[in-house]
């Protein structure tokens, strides 16, 4: 009974100290000028981009006008413009004159021997190399000219105009839902955007928070405050308090960015119609959150240990960069996730603990139904790793935090991890 009371008191003390450390590290971080500046920078940049886009951009929602083209028809086939085509027939002298004046960018010549001689000439202004907009214009003009010539050949062969039109444009696809209501496949296809956003936020918050954690731990070592702190707080609540407090600071930054994005979204919808009416499965969001939190705990423990081991800030950043790289690996293999989510590479990335969070967040984004077996294996692997990493990190924290300016040996670190108690 007495032992149970003592254990209860220890647990309360542990949580109280953890809360004191977390609260203090959180408030200290979010009040820093660097934090406030960094947090405000992204929303400011987004706002600036929207402003620039509204000032100088052309709204993409307005359909582009049909490509206009000028044709010199030297063949015996009368031209029948395709529906909607802006086609103008002129003689060669007029075309040359307009091109020379700059009134035309180019014109097309249907040769006298057409269709036996199928080569169509495109005459463009000489003296300059084609620019991007020339290629874009030509790629719009060519299908229009092709449809026009197809219709013209069919009409010349005596095919009925309505049949000729169907030969030229055989199908017209309209998307509907099961109940027959119109739907937009582009909008549905963007259902993966939130889990993908989670993936990016996870990777970003890993780097942001690792920076805060390393800064906090190395600062306490360099300022020689850590021994006073350790005489009041055992290493475990100190480490977990820092992970929670600085993780919360990192998430605050991300939350501000997400909130800004949500506010900016209605404005962006006008320019990105595919995100209008976006619906995300709550199950996918829930799973993504679980992977996010477990992944953060695993990386947080590693970065806390790195801060304790590293003799200075520079070394701490180098070590953390090595571990942080694993968080990015699944994003480097994004192509494999798109090409075949069931591939061996994807499965390995989903099960290896350090790559599991970003891999599973991507996989959830791309799968119509969560791959439950892989989800379970990944959760088990990541959960076990996070627990072991936290335990090992707290032992490393205890053993190495007071090695001012000295780098512990690998043997020493392994000894600390495997030590009793």
């Amino acid at each position: 009974m007495t032992r149970r009371v003592a254990v209860g008191q220890q647990r309360r003390s542990f949580l109280r100290l953890m809360a004191v450390v977390a609260r203090r590290d959180y408030l200290r971080t979010v009040r820093r000028r660097g934090f406030v500046f960094g947090t405000a920078l992204l929303p400011a940049a987004m706002g600036g981009l929207l402003l620039l886009s509204s000032l100088f951009g052309s709204p993409p929602a307005v359909p582009a006008p049909a490509a206009a083209l000028t044709v010199v028809n030297e063949s015996a086939i009368p031209l029948q413009p395709a529906t909607g085509a802006q086609l103008r027939e002129v003689d060669r002298a007029t075309a040359d004159s307009e091109l020379a004046r700059g009134a035309l960018g180019e014109f097309y010549i249907v040769p006298a021997g057409y269709p036996a001689a199928p080569e169509i000439q495109r005459v463009a202004a000489s003296g300059r190399s084609p620019a991007i907009e020339d290629f874009q214009r030509w790629s719009g003009q060519e299908p229009v000219l092709a449809a026009t010539l197809r219709l013209s050949l069919l009409a010349d062969a005596g095919v009925r105009p309505d049949v000729a039109e169907r030969v030229a444009r055989p199908i017209s696809v309209r998307d509907v839902s099961v109940d027959g209501a119109p739907s937009d496949p582009v909008v549905g296809g963007f259902g993966f955007i939130v889990p993908y956003a989670f993936t990016f936020l996870f990777v970003m918050s890993i780097f942001i928070t690792s920076g805060y954690l390393l800064q906090s731990v190395t600062e306490e070592k360099e300022n020689r405050v850590v021994e006073i702190v350790l005489s009041s707080v055992p290493p475990q609540p100190l480490m977990f308090g820092k992970i929670v407090g600085l993780g919360a600071a990192g998430l605050t930054q991300v939350a501000v960015w997400v909130a800004t994005a949500l506010i900016a979204l209605p404005l962006a919808v006008e320019r990105l119609p595919m995100i209008d009416g976006l619906e995300i499965s709550p199950l996918v969001v829930g799973l993504a959150l679980v992977f996010f939190v477990l992944g953060y705990l695993a990386y947080g423990a590693i970065f806390a240990a790195v801060g304790a081991i590293a003799p200075g800030t520079r070394e701490a950043q180098q070590y953390s960069g090595f571990f942080g790289f694993f968080a990015v690996v699944p994003l480097l293999f994004a192509g494999a996730f798109f090409a075949d989510p069931g591939s061996a590479l994807v499965t390995v990335l989903a099960v290896v603990p350090l790559t599991a969070p970003a891999a599973m967040l991507q996989l959830l984004a791309l799968s119509a139904e969560p791959p439950w077996l892989l989800v379970a294996a990944s959760l088990l692997s990541l959960g076990a790793f996070a627990a072991l990493a936290a335990l090992a990190a707290s032992r490393i924290f205890r053993a190495t935090l007071l090695l001012y300016g000295a780098r512990p040996s690998l043997r020493g670190i392994l000894g600390a991890i495997t030590a009793r108690g």
Binding site: V20, R224, I228, V229, S232, R398, L402
Partner: protein, 312 residues
Amino acid sequence: MTAQEAGPHPVVVEGVSKRFGRVDVVCDLSFEVQAGEVLGFLGPNGAGKTTTMRMILDIIRPDSGRIAVFGGAPGLAQQHRVGYLPEERGLYRDVSAVDTLTYFGSLKGMSGGDARRQAEALLRELGLGDSMAKRAGELSRGMHQKVQVIATVLHRPQLLILDEPFQGLDPVNAQMLRDLVLGQRDRGAAVVMSTHDMNEAQTLCDRLLLIDHGRRVLYGSVTDIRRGFASGAVEVEGEGIPSSPGALRSADDAIASNGRIRFVLRDGASPSDLFRELAASGAQVTRFEEAAPTLNEIFIRAVAGEPRGDTA
């Protein structure tokens, strides 16, 4: 029953050992610290003093042996009763003194409000009232030292562990710390203090523990240890004292220096025998004192391998 006797000893260390790599830093060390006393923790550099203090604070764990702090295992349950001034000490450079102290007080179980009020009161008491909102980076070294000392006693600990507290202190701050140590002892707190300054140890400490290579060399009250190292000599001052060799039966030799005569006692003779002889000789004795070595001499002799003062 006095307050000191009421509870378990603030610190009991029994057969504690600690090894780092291939080096035995602390070997089978035992001692205790009583409430209301200052225990001087002496030893050469690398003797294992800081390691022992860190084990009492549960910053590191012993490989074997037992440590009890207020009757329980060191750690969470005891940490709010302990104040620690480490040898390597600093402050958060970009945080104000009062904010740092409030944080340290909160870690020791005080509410945020109480910690801040107490920190402000102590800062004012030590003349830092105008500097409490300044960042530590803007404070002088002397001010830093005062803030660090306040951090140690802010929560009125019942056990103070001070690792080389006088190192680098200016005379004013050294006196402040001396007064503080004695004040804490007088209110019933136990103080463990490591130092290389033997004069400070002799002035402030009630008992001493001297370790070397992690092993206990001397342990006991200052008086007993000095007596244990007494060399069988007596120092005498006065008029008409016979000082020629062989003039007194109980002394082998007599050396005059600075107005006093140092008599080396013959084997089997006691200071009382010498005193009686002097009285019978008609000499007027104004000072008669057993010649005990200074702590500095004892330290050098003990560390050089003359262990004979352990009176525990």
